[in-house]
Amino acid sequence: MRRNDPLSRLIDGLSSLKLTLLCLALLMALVVACTLAQVELGIHLAVERFIRSFIVWWTPEGSALRLPIFPGGGLVGAVLLLNLIFAQLRRLELSWRKGGLWIMHTGLALLFIGEFATALMQVESNMAIEEGQTKNSSEDYRRMEVAVVDETDPEFNDELAVPDTLLKSRAEIADASLPFKLRVRAYHDNAALSLRGPGDAPSPVTSGVGVRMSFQPLPPVSADGDRNTAVAVVEPVLKDGSSLGVFLLSNGLGAPQGFISEGRKWRLALRLRLYRHPFSLTLKDFRHDVYPGTDIPKNFSSLVRLKDPRAGDDRDVLIYMNSPLRHGGLTFYQASFGKNDTLSVLQVVRNPAWTLPYLSCLLVALGLMWHFGLMLRKSLGEASP
């Protein structure tokens, strides 16, 4: 019955156990590499390089080459997922005896899909609130944006945020809401800022506090706790081509910068990417308890007031370790604290796929117990005839 055309050969290959073993071995190698690399690269970059990639690239010391040397976690995971589905459909009959395998492999497939979905859709940010303060936004500490804010009306600011990905990929940014275009002269993920010395080369910057500054690009840092100082050199240009000045923007510069054009007041800023939420949290109390006579933390908790007019919510919520707040598709976790225990930092995560692992764990456990239970019964039957 076996046909020998390329398609069935492909399906044969995709459903073969050899491929399963190959993928499992490759995955193990990637996991080991990712673990060891964390010492040097930090967890985030190591995961990006080995796991959340389709190809692992290698750049020999001192060259600009990028050589593909190993399949990445994404590729291996995708092949393993295909292999799982094909093998299941082709080789395993639907029967009570194989029921455990069906359930278990479904659970596994969900786990893989969940990890892919997380890689694609999860957005992490931080919300730092001081006691008594109310916030309706959180900051992404890994990504940047340039904010163009119309401050003409003191009551209400209109703003446009340009993400760092666009700043890096485009030379000019135009938007219908802006009477000018933003020309991007330079963008660096990380740099060292310093005051200009007398011997420095002439700077292209003509306006704002950046005139007195110079910067030296640095490789971006990724270890936990490290922060990048991004730098953008931008030039707002009117439709007729006349320049409104060249600005040096950085999240390392605190002073406001801006210009007035056609009677409207504009402010420019490079900042951590900001996410606004349709509800607000007010920190009423932050607690940091220790065990008596020690510095060992016993508990961190934030008592917040959640106000969401759309959902009709106006209530107190206690966020503490292992007990996050889930609201509006976001989850708020107690992450850190500061300012003598008056500042609480909440980790804000949007991950639509967060329930998949729960379901998957249940299915796989059930399937394995079913399958191995049958196996054990059979082997006990053999051992005592």
Binding site: L17, K18, T20, L21, L24, A25, L27, M28, V31, V32, C34, T35, L36, Q38, V39, I43, A46, V47, I51, L111, G114, E115, T118, Q122, E124, V290, Y291, P292, G293, T294, I296, P297, K298, N299, F300, M321, N322, S323, P324, T331, Y333, A335, Q347, V349, N351, W354, P357, Y358, S360, C361, V364, A365, L368, M369, F372, M375, L376, S379, L380, A383
Partner: protein, 611 residues
């Protein structure tokens, strides 16, 4: 019938032997050390008996729970009493283990003859150690050299010892009773000097003397190693105080803590070798604690009993004897010896279980809370599984594997206990009995079963090299046993790993962070899945499966201990230098065993051509 009776006798006999320390009368001594050991104190965030603190301190300093002095070994409690009240004597005890040759060089001590040194031998270099340690402390923990790590460890031990010496009184100086009387005598004059517009010279002198005294008490309050004074009536239950705190506490002037005077009496009596006076003051304090803080007294008593029984030490001895008996049974093919070995293994397991349960009850936590207790639990679960498996295939392999793992893990636990209190308080993020009971316990059972499969596989390999007569049925039984255990461990390691992810989702907001500890757990799952798929696909037969099962030992060990040595990640427990050597040796041994198993059939003692 005879066999049954023999089994019962071995079982009950060994249990009685293990329970003996709990019921044995305390050794005769003039000073009531046993009662002192039972006193509750607050240290490391929890109420514990002085005995526990003395044992774990001495364990961290010299790796043993006793010190040899003049040919006799003295208990940890007695050592602590000497350090607190007779430091000039305690300074001559060999309380510190120093291994590192470079540190020995720094201390001008000769290596070779002994690893144990007394405080007086080190004292002259104390400043040098302090300075070097301060420099080493500046370096990130993962990047320190061996010398720097050893030096930091020594510095920590020395300062713990110095803090113990300055807990009740200033390192054996002065007379605490007189100082207390002095304090009460000086107070009125000093107070009037403080309030008066024009204090008299006498009052002024009193104020000066008082401030000098208070300076000493403040110092005591800061350096004391633990808090020995339970809160008085009407004071919150966790407001324990050390001697310095109680003495410099303004409330002390009106209502001094009754035990302050008692500890002062104990100090003086102990220094004067007046056992009767010491015991009288001690029992007065114990009576006060029993009356006003009965819970603390009860908890401390229970924990002291547990320490005295040391079930994990007797368990270790029993496992080892059972293992040797199994070997004897194999060598002699005597049915009775095999039966006795099984009985002994069960009694070892019962003692182990008792210890595990007692710890769980004392701590009010699920059985696994730290690296130490994970070692205890891995051994327990593997022993249980092995004993259960033995009931399916009665050939002694499962019992032998169970005993070998039980013995080894308890030995590892014993060495891990040198890191400090084994019932330490849980840091906030780990403080969740639900997740400790589910994720941690399942994943640890996964470790245990993977080890059991590996151990059975080792038995399979060794058999082939020592057994002369072919017995394919035995080989097959071992292999199918190991296969069943691998399946079991896939279930537990998978569920445990995913539960860990779910816990992480609950506490850090990410299901899977690719943290080293998570990756280690994942590797175990992947490897077990790999073995099972290789078998189902027919790519590996009996021998292949066995060799892979041995490799499982390496993977579990790396994920259990190896990732802690990376010194990174949210789960890291701290860097362990010496453990690294042992881990490498263990992995090398497993590789050697795999090689032995992979040798072609003509190298085997058992001449067969299959597999």
């Amino acid at each position: 019938m005879k066999t049954k009776r023999l089994q019962t006798a071995v079982f009950l006999g060994s249990l009685t032997l293990a329970a003996w320390p709990a019921v044995a009368p305390a050794p005769k001594s003039d000073i009531n050390f046993a009662a002192f050991a039972r006193l509750p104190i607050l240290e490391g965030g929890r109420v514990k008996p002085l005995d526990s603190f003395a044992r774990s301190s001495l364990m961290s300093m010299r790796g043993k729970q006793y010190v040899p002095v003049d040919g006799k070994s003295i208990s940890a409690t007695r050592w602590l009493l000497d350090a607190a009240f007779k430091p000039e004597a305690a300074d001559t005890y060999p309380s510190f283990v120093v291994d590192d040759p470079e540190v020995l060089g720094l201390l001008d001590l000769a290596s070779g003859k002994t690893r144990y040194f007394a405080y007086w031998q080190i004292e002259s270099k104390r400043d040098e150690i302090q300075n070097q340690a301060a420099a080493a402390d500046q370096i990130e923990s993962g990047r320190r050299s061996r010398f720097q790590n050893a030096l930091l460890a020594l510095n920590g031990r020395l300062s713990l010892y110095e803090r113990i010496k300055n807990t009740f009184m200033l390192s054996g100086q002065g007379d605490p009773s007189r100082e207390m009387a002095e304090l009460t005598g000086l107070l009125p004059g000093a107070m009037s000097a403080f309030h008066a517009k024009k204090p008299t010279d006498k009052d002024r002198r009193a104020m000066k003397a008082l401030s000098e005294l208070l300076r000493r008490f403040h110092f005591l309050a800061q350096v004391a190693a633990f808090k020995a004074l339970p809160p008085q009536e009407g004071v919150p239950a966790d407001a324990w105080m050390n001697t310095g705190e109680a003495l410099s506490n303004p409330a002390n002037a009106q209502a001094p803590h009754p035990s302050l005077a008692l500890f002062a009496l104990m100090a003086n009596a102990y220094r004067a070798d007046d056992a009767a006076a010491f015991n009288a003051a001690l029992s007065a304090h114990a009576a006060w604690v029993a009356r006003y803080r009965p819970d603390a007294a009860r908890a401390a008593r229970a924990e002291t009993l547990f320490n005295t029984c040391s079930p994990f030490i007797s368990g270790m001895a029993l496992y080892l004897s059972a293992l040797l008996l199994v070997f004897a049974a194999w060598a002699t093919r005597h049915k009775d010896i095999a039966a006795a070995a099984r009985a002994l293994a069960w009694s070892a397991f019962i003692v182990h279980t008792f210890g595990l349960l007692a710890r769980t009850l004392l701590q009010g936590r699920p059985p696994v809370t730290n690296l130490y207790s994970s070692a205890v639990f891995v051994g327990w679960a593997a022993a249980l599984l092995g004993l259960a498996a033995e009931r399916i295939h009665r050939r002694g392999f499962a019992v032998a594997s169970a005993c070998a793992i039980g013995f080894t893990t308890l030995l590892i636990a014993h060495h891990l206990s040198a890191a400090g209190d084994t019932m330490e308080m849980m840091r906030a993020v780990l403080d969740s009995n639900f997740w400790l009971a589910t994720h941690v316990v399942t994943i640890t059972i996964g470790y245990a079963s993977t080890y059991l499969a590996g151990m059975l596989a080792i038995a399979w390999v060794v058999r082939r090299h020592v057994m002369i007569e072919p017995d394919p049925a035995a080989s097959k039984a071992l292999a199918s046993l190991a296969y069943g255990v691998i399946a079991f461990s896939l279930l537990f390691s998978f569920v445990g790993t995913v539960l860990g992810g779910i816990w992480a989702d609950q506490s850090w907001g990410r299901f899977w962070g690719w943290d080293p500890k998570e990756n280690g757990a994942l590797l175990i799952v992947l490897w077990n899945a790999f073995i099972l798929h290789a078998r189902w696909g027919g790519y590996a037969r009996e021998r292949g499966i066995m060799l892979m099962a041995i490799f499982g030992n390496i993977i579990v060990s790396l994920s259990w201990f190896g990732v802690n040595m990376l010194g990174i990640g949210l789960h890291s427990y701290g860097f362990m230098d010496k453990a690294f050597l042992w881990l490498s040796a263990f992995c090398a041994l497993q590789l050697a065993l795999m090689l032995l198993g992979a040798l072609p059939a003509r190298f085997w003692a058992e001449k067969r051509t299959d597999a």
